[in-house]
């Protein structure tokens, strides 16, 4: 039932993501794109096997955090199934914390929509 759990690993022990039939990328699900930045408040994350579905919603919800000064996403190349997510904070929290908070917020948001929707469907009948 663990839909996103990878079943295969490559020779380096990295998980190979199988997402539908889309030829997938190999590597960690999420990693920090290498840079020589010394500011922990700024980072670019590479999320594998995701697209606009999550990229844009995550960008929105992270931007909602008042401590975040910039958040943007891009899909660097159409044939590589990955999303780059850039986060820059005002320094009061780290970029990783902002990402964490964004993930939590979006989970809360979707579960709120889901429960509200189910209530409304029940009431509509």
């Amino acid at each position: 039932m663990v839909m996103q759990e990878p079943a295969v690993q490559d020779e380096n022990g990295f998980d190979t993501y199988v997402n539908g039939g889309v030829p997938s990328t190999t590597g960690p699900k999420i990693e920090v794109v290498a840079s020589n930045e010394s500011d922990p408040g700024a980072a670019t994350f590479c999320i594998r096997d995701e697209d606009h579905t999550l990229g844009n919603a995550l960008r929105y919800i992270i931007m909602k955090n008042p401590a975040v000064e910039f958040c943007g996403y891009s899909i660097p190349h159409p044939s590589e199934y990955m999303v780059n997510l850039r986060i820059q904070t005002d320094g009061s929290i780290s970029a990783v914390d902002a990402l964490h908070r964004g993930l939590d917020d979006l989970i809360n948001l979707t579960s709120h929509i889901s429960s509200t929707f189910q209530d409304k469907v029940q009431a509509f009948k």
Binding site: M1, V2, M3, Q4, E5, A7, V18, N19, G20, G21, V22, K29, I30, E31, V32, N36, E37, S38, D39, P40, A43, F45, I47, E50, H52, T53, L54, N56, A57, R59, Y60, K64, N65, P66, A67, I93, S94, A95, V96, D97, H100, R101, L103, D105, L106, I107, N108, L109, T110, S111, H112, I113, S114, T116, F117, K120, V121, A123, F124, K125
Partner: protein, 281 residues
């Protein structure tokens, strides 16, 4: 961290159901962002798991249609997929088996020989070995037409229906159509109409436009305005009920987020040169 918890107050989306029948449901999602509304739309179209025929083994086919033609038609027949995750735990891509197994697939059979002048082969002739996962049925119609046979012709085959998502093939999509609209009066100018003489007569406002105030003739353009109200009409193939498809779409998003969250653990030391923890706090 103590910034206002916006998901608890300001940005709590609202949902209202505007219509519902067997095949479709209309609802309005409001007080949220376009990106969230679009994520839900995309998830339910492309990433909800259902069952669909994926492998067909022909024993005999003396009909006028080729094997691959029939196989293609079989793939497009919706199979009841409610609660599929509790019965079939894996998609075939996730499963550790070589080709297919009971954890990722279901077998169906079709054995028809025409003894009359002619006959139709429909989805009702497809017999599943599974209790629940079988071709959809409705009282109003006589099944989905697969082929027509004349006297003496025969089709006998074995199908493997696999669990999958529509990113791989549209046959796995539970949605036949998802109508999605916002800003019916085009206040935000997200679209430019091609007009010959008169916009109003050439581009009649959709039914959703009745639910929003019509902009005044000389209204100044609010370039800061953002869409806030999203109109959906979700029509399913029958594989899932419309409300099930929507709930499943939201669940897909939650699972994706939870999986990323799990993987973010231990990433902290990569950020910044000194490591986030010791530098920050």
């Amino acid at each position: 961290m103590n910034y206002s918890n916006f998901t608890q107050n300001a940005n709590k989306p609202f949902v209202s159901i505007t219509g519902q029948d067997q095949e479709s449901i209309s609802f309005i999602l409001s007080n949220t962002d376009l990106s969230v509304a679009n994520a839900i739309r995309r998830a339910m179209i492309a990433e909800v798991t259902t069952m669909a025929i994926d492998l067909v083994e022909f024993e005999n086919n003396t009909s006028v249609l080729t094997d691959e033609f029939i196989a293609h038609r079989l793939g497009l027949i919706p199979l009841f997929s409610s609660d599929v995750d509790t019965m079939i735990p894996f998609t075939s891509r996730e499963c550790s088996c070589q080709q297919y197994c009971p954890s990722c697939s279901v077998e169906l059979h079709l054995n028809v020989k025409c003894d009359q002048e002619s006959r139709s082969v429909t989805s009702n002739d497809l017999i599943s070995v599974h209790q629940q996962i079988k071709p959809i049925t409705s009282e109003s119609d006589s099944g989905i037409l697969i082929a027509k046979l004349v006297k003496g012709q025969e089709i006998s085959l074995r199908c493997i229906a696999k669990k999958g998502i529509a990113k791989e093939h549209a046959k796995w999509s539970p949605c036949a159509a998802v109508a999605f609209e916002y800003d019916p009066h085009n206040r935000l100018r997200h679209t430019t109409y091609w007009v010959e003489d008169d916009v109003k007569s050439e581009w009649p406002v959709s039914k959703n436009g009745e639910l929003e105030e019509e902009p005044a003739e000389d209204e100044p353009f609010d370039y800061l305005a953002k869409p806030n109200k999203f109109y959906y009409n979700v029509e399913t193939t029958g594989a899932l009920k419309p409300q099930e498809a929507i709930i499943a779409g939201l669940k897909v998003l939650q699972k994706k987020l939870a999986f990323i969250k799990k993987n973010v653990e231990g990433i902290a030391e990569e950020v910044g040169t000194g490591g986030v923890e010791e530098r920050m706090f």
